[in-house]
Amino acid sequence: MKLGEEIAQRTAFGQALVELGAERPTMLVLDADVGPSTQTHLFGQAYPDRYIEVGIAEQNMVGIAAGLSTLGFIPWISTFAVFMTKRAGDQIRNSIAHTRANVKINGAYGGLPTGRAGATHSAVEDLAVMRAMPDMIVMDPADPQEAMACARLAMDIEGPVYVRTVRCAVPVIFPEDHKVELGKAVKLHEGKDVAIISCGMMTPRALKAAQELEKQGISARVLHMATIKPIDVEAICDAAESIGKIVTVENHSVIGGLGGAVCEVTAEHAPCHIKRLGFPDVFLESGDDEVYFHRYGLDIEGIVSTAKSLAEGG
């Protein structure tokens, strides 16, 4: 995986499962008829005896995984994030989170990019739902490399973990030895005029935006949050206190996800100016991903413009 190379994050994640499967004989993967889409079918090809196709029955998939976990298996369950976190939301809450079952949850097709599938298939609120669930760890990796690192970290944690992946190609920004630390932001760019806090596939864009801002005479600190929960309170407070202006950027609703989490932290510990970039309180529609990312200010141009006006304004 070369830096700058564009690779579908779901494919990297699918390959990570195959690698981890070789190391962890107790690891199983369950999917609900979307293995070729989530790319968990790669695991199925490698380890047919450890891959369970449950059919289009997400709730049952969650329960089966929870049952398997009581016998020492470490099951991954995977389907589209929108269905995983809502259709099977109660099952995840009660049979996995409350029981602290050692089940790993992959919400594939996070946010907008769903292959033009529109409102019903785009997960705009999965981070909010999963973040509010007690005993749930929530990860939104930035690039293909970090998707692999998150999958590995999830296996090392005893208990439920939600790992979101996206369908589309994302540029590689992290080296092969990149490791994710729970609750630790990664500072990708230093700056003093404005802080951009991003997660998931928005982070490579935030980094490019900071480089563009630099050309325009604005220095931006970029903090990447691979783990939305636990979140890095210290890094957020430091940005709030030393810079005082924060833009949050996420492939998710502005309600309850990264932007919500950053506002909760600053409101209590270090009030400052914040602008949240994400989807407003709307259902998305079918069409080209970039048209919508542009519409909601989630392209490089949009991030630059928002960060600039915050840096130059009050």
């Binding site: 049952n60 049952g67 016998l71």
Partner: protein, 284 residues
Amino acid sequence: MNDKNLDELTSLARETRRLIIETGHTCGAGHTGGSLSEVEILIALYFSFMNIDPQHPDWEDRDRFVLSKGHASLGYYTVLAQRGYFPVAQLKTFDHEDSALQAHPDMHKCRGVDFSTGSLGQGLSIGVGIALGAQKKNKAFRTVVLLGDGECQEGQVWEAAMFAGSKHVQRLIAVVDYNKVQLSHRVEENLSLEPFAIKWESFGWSVLSVDGHNIAELLSALSRAGSMSEQGPVVIIANTVKGKGVSFMEGKFEWHGKAPNDQEYAAALRELDTGYSNDSSKSR
């Protein structure tokens, strides 16, 4: 039949009912109706059919039990206590703040509980997962899931049933406490399950029907189910009476989630002591 004979099991069941009424009254909590209907099923399982060791609740080869109708925890805790998982005296902490005996069973708080339940319709999937895991590990233990009839209106039950039937999941036994009454009405008034046996059969399950208050019938069905489950999943439809044993509670949805007050408590105990519950013909 372990070392308990039928008379002993019957007298244990009588004691279970008395304890359910007493605990419910003392604690002012509990789902009395569904706890009374499951008594003989739980006695047959915990004192005879299941291969368990209350001294070692985490023994890896034990048979597993999931109370999918988690609200009937009062009956479940009572039988666990009688079986020696914790002292019977502990029942008086039922539903109290910080108690191990939560309103709905919590595997991390209560000794002997194999899996936490409460949100209806989820237990059969858990049981399928446990039974699949046993197959993968070449373990011979059985997994028993006790379902309520009302919760069979949940779609997830049938997702799990379809999976288990289609994949011939072994050593999985479901028992349905078919007491015909749910929270707000009779089941047939809300949403009928019938033809119930045919539904399970068409999902690939072997079906046995019994009088769920007749311990001899339950033991014989469980024994058959144990052998049959080597081939694929088996369901025992246990025809029961909600509130069984207390005339004014029987068949009444009003007793779904209510505990007896002082007068009802006294009246219920009088009936249980005089053996009203011996008549099992009403369960058909």
